[in-house]
Symmetry: C2
């Protein structure tokens, strides 16, 4: 039986605060630093490794974190989640995104359905459909093959699938696996849809409308925008449009779609990349086998996340260190810095995943908490960021913990040797150098050229960025965020904070406003 307690009521949290903080500059010097790099590493799925040598932890801190994990019943809470308890208490829902990629515990039956069977069934339906499109069995009205797939969705229906597509696009091209080019329309700004439509061959495009509820303002608006364009070209809308939605949504009942694939209320939007939300567009773009590999990578990481030993559980360990940094050391933000151009939109996805899940001020019972919760998450790929905001990270007045990601090999494999090294080696040399520069700093008589060091980071290292390792990487962060939610005792699976804006926007459009909102609407000539 698990019990849900606020972080600051746990004795182990109070004890953690009493452990001597680690001086990174000191522990990372000499042989000790080298030993930390060798030993402070937790294996992840698909050959990835989470190296935390440059985090402000040592044997004492790690022991305290292990006690915290135990007292907070982290593995038990994870088990409750994957065994189908109502973890999303606010919305009274199960939380089943891990079940889209594997069976971790007991069969989960809800609404009279075995949910694993349901998710696998939808994957098969998507795979069959994608195979037929690729084989030319499903075509446009003129009997011609579709070349492009366009996802119409926003938030969780956009950021994850888009980041994953971009992460694998060049890999797929290189391996002759890019079946269709994918594009994304998200913003209600009409320039978004117009620009995408201007850039594609609409007559050979499939459009996927993605909205769990079937009521998302932006997505329905953009669907209408696209239907308009199809009609203007004299094309049959129902031959070009697919839906990904819940079985109870208005979209599920429409005849406007060539096919509909389903998800359900037990998968939150930001956790839906492994459901049909990601599955449809990614299977069409890369083929179902690639998507299946991606799911396998995620499933392997989910298994690792069950481990009670925090040193063998990189997702939980990352979560614990993050809470230590946020609630004991007092750092306000975390930067995500993948040294991989292909991961250029991965930080934007993690930004939603993390900030929407844990940016809460009340615990799961609706009571205000007396400690800070989710940090600000931001990031850009390295080495680009080095020439941008790293100045503040190195010498600014706030300390920002850093989450690096790096791979030994490039995806495309085209490279050039300059001054004795390839670009890929230069990329890796830069991430190694940054980690040590942040941790160890450098003294200088000129205070302007001095680096205090003591700036913590971790790095996830892999061989290659491919579907399996990408799946593991995504699951790592999903599980980290889940564990942090457990520690902060918040409900990571609702998002009540997005509601008020929606309500007020409707009022503005209905011209039912007064006071400041009316004045603002007038200023914007709405």
């Amino acid at each position: 039986m698990v019990t849900w307690n606020n972080l600051d009521t746990l004795a182990s949290f109070q004890d953690l605060a009493k452990v001597d903080p680690v001086d990174l500059v000191s522990v990372m010097s000499g042989e000790n630093g080298a030993n930390r790099v060798k030993t402070y590493s937790a294996p992840m799925a698909e050959g990835l490794a989470f190296n935390y040598a440059t985090k402000q932890v040592d044997a004492d801190v790690l022991e305290a974190l292990a006690k915290l994990a135990k007292e907070a019943q982290l593995t038990e809470k994870y088990a409750a989640l994957y065994n189908g308890e109502v973890i999303n208490t606010g919305e009274k829902r199960l939380v089943l995104h891990q079940l889209t990629r594997g069976q971790l515990g007991e069969d989960v039956v809800a609404d009279g359905v075995n949910k694993r069977d349901f998710y696998v069934g939808q994957q098969k339906k998507v795979a069959d459909f994608a195979n037929k499109v690729h084989a030319g069995e499903i075509t446009n009205e003129a009997g011609e093959k579709f070349t492009t797939v366009v996802q119409i969705g926003i938030g969780g229906s956009d950021l994850g699938p888009r980041a994953i597509y971009l992460a694998l696009e060049n890999w797929a091209k290189k391996n002759d696996l890019l079946k269709m080019e994918a594009k994304f329309i998200s913003n209600v700004d009409p320039d978004d849809a117009a620009a995408v439509l201007n850039s594609i061959d609409v007559a050979h495009s499939l459009f996927i409308v993605v909205s769990k509820s079937g009521t998302t303002l932006e997505t329905l608006t953009n669907e209408a925008f696209v239907k308009d364009a199809l009609n203007n070209l004299g094309l049959d809308v129902s031959k070009h449009m697919l839906a990904v939605t819940s079985e109870t949504s208005p979209l599920a009942k429409s005849d406007d779609y060539l096919a509909a694939f389903f998800m359900d209320d037990y998968i939150g939007g930001r956790f839906s990349s492994c459901s049909s939300v990601g599955g449809a567009v990614l299977s069409l773009a890369f083929g179902p086998e690639v998507f299946a590999d991606f799911l396998d990578g995620a499933a392997e990481e989910d298994k690792l996340a069950m481990n009670e030993d925090i040193l063998q559980n990189p997702d939980m360990l990352d979560a614990l260190i993050g809470v230590y940094e946020r609630n004991i050391l007092g750092y306000p933000a975390t930067a995500v810095l993948p040294y991989s151009q292909a991961l250029n939109r991965f930080p934007a996805h993690l930004q939603q995943l993390d900030m929407e899940s844990n940016g809460k001020s009340v615990n799961r019972f609706g009571e205000p908490v007396d400690y800070v919760t989710g940090p600000i998450i931001f990031g850009e790929p390295g080495t680009n960021g080095q020439h941008s905001f790293y100045q503040l990270l190195h010498q600014g007045t706030d300390i920002v913990p850093l989450q690096f990601v790096g791979f030994k090999n490039s995806q495309i494999g085209t490279d050039v040797v300059i001054e004795g090294s390839t670009s890929q080696k230069k990329l890796c040399a830069n991430v190694a150098a940054q980690i040590i520069a942040f941790a160890c700093g450098k003294d200088d008589e000129n205070r302007n050229k001095k680096f205090d060091g003591g700036r913590p980071s971790s790095i996830i290292i892999g061989e290659d960025l491919n579907p399996k390792s990408l799946g593991a990487l995504l699951a790592h962060f999903e599980n980290k965020i889940m564990y942090q939610g457990f520690l902060w005792n918040v409900n990571s699976f609702d998002q009540e904070g997005v509601q008020l804006g929606k309500v007020l926007a409707k009022r503005v459009l209905a011209h039912e406003t007064d006071g400041a909102l009316k004045e603002l609407s007038d200023l914007l000539e709405i």
Copy 2:
């Protein structure tokens, strides 16, 4: 004569801390709120307006900020800068980016040259070259017109020009002004250059190598990468490559380039969008007249920034409010939220502009300061962000001030009416709704659905996003950051914090490391 003092030594700053803080929920309600929206607005150039009704200011706070502006001698310091004093004291350089777009004060003569003449001369040289390319007078070896321009640069040579190109690409298409498509290669990750080269017609592409020093690792590596590709296609490198650099750099002396355009040490990389760094690629993409309009918009805003009355100086006012939020109210970050898909990379540019300029711990004399300086800057376009990280902004435990930007009209003009409103109206309705939701909140018995409000924001409102208004927008932020640097008494124009990483990366590549850095390099198989 200006004197440079730390913020916390100013009597007006101590007084500011004593002013009663403003309760946004209270002041924004009813008629008072409506009045604030009407009156708390400072006109900007090109028809833009900076509305700060939902900032935590009132007459008392504004009066205290005006005193602070005066005691800190903000307009005098700006005058010293544009009149050519050595404001970048660390590197002993003038700071002349405003001079690329207009003459605000005295003639500035440096190194025996009138610098305004020099910048205008380079603009003319770029314009002549671009006109000849567009007219087919400068062609590839086969005598065919160039269709694509590729900028090879990183940091300031990438983020600003890229953000501006993307901001105007659809506007230019709509107005038949897109002369050449532009692409950008920045990252040393070989997959960046390889993917761009795979996506273009290399034989009809011009490549601009942009590096002030001519020694930037990433840029020289990517130049070699592109030269390799040109050679492999049997193309004459010197017919396809341009340089933007300083006159003293190694690139300036090379015969490898079809043309070279110059900037100088008085323009920092992140402030270089208005120099040849932005001028070459943007003039080639859109034509020199469009770039000239962009400069005119920036120049108009620069003039406004001279105003001693903070209520008539939106750049200074924005800076002052930001410092109040950071140093008195204690907020750690600022989010930049343009309700315009075209501005989707503008936040990334501002992130560099702000964090690299003011992410400092020492004052301009190299002495540690006892107060926080530049905040974390992040952001994504609305309405996308609403479905991502706004949850934390509304209900998280930290307050994050918000910088909105919105335009009444879309760029492309293709739109659709759904439920009685266009997409553009929906976009505007959303930004208005968010501003009020953040400021005023909403009570609810269910604490999970309650919004405390009190979350400050400002909005810059314009008619259209076009070259002139974009220029004004960019200058606004450049000037805001300059004024904040004056207030914090830091040197906003150097970036010593980026040096250590570069030095260590070279050591890694030369295999001259030991301890932790050697272990890390081994892990990454460098």
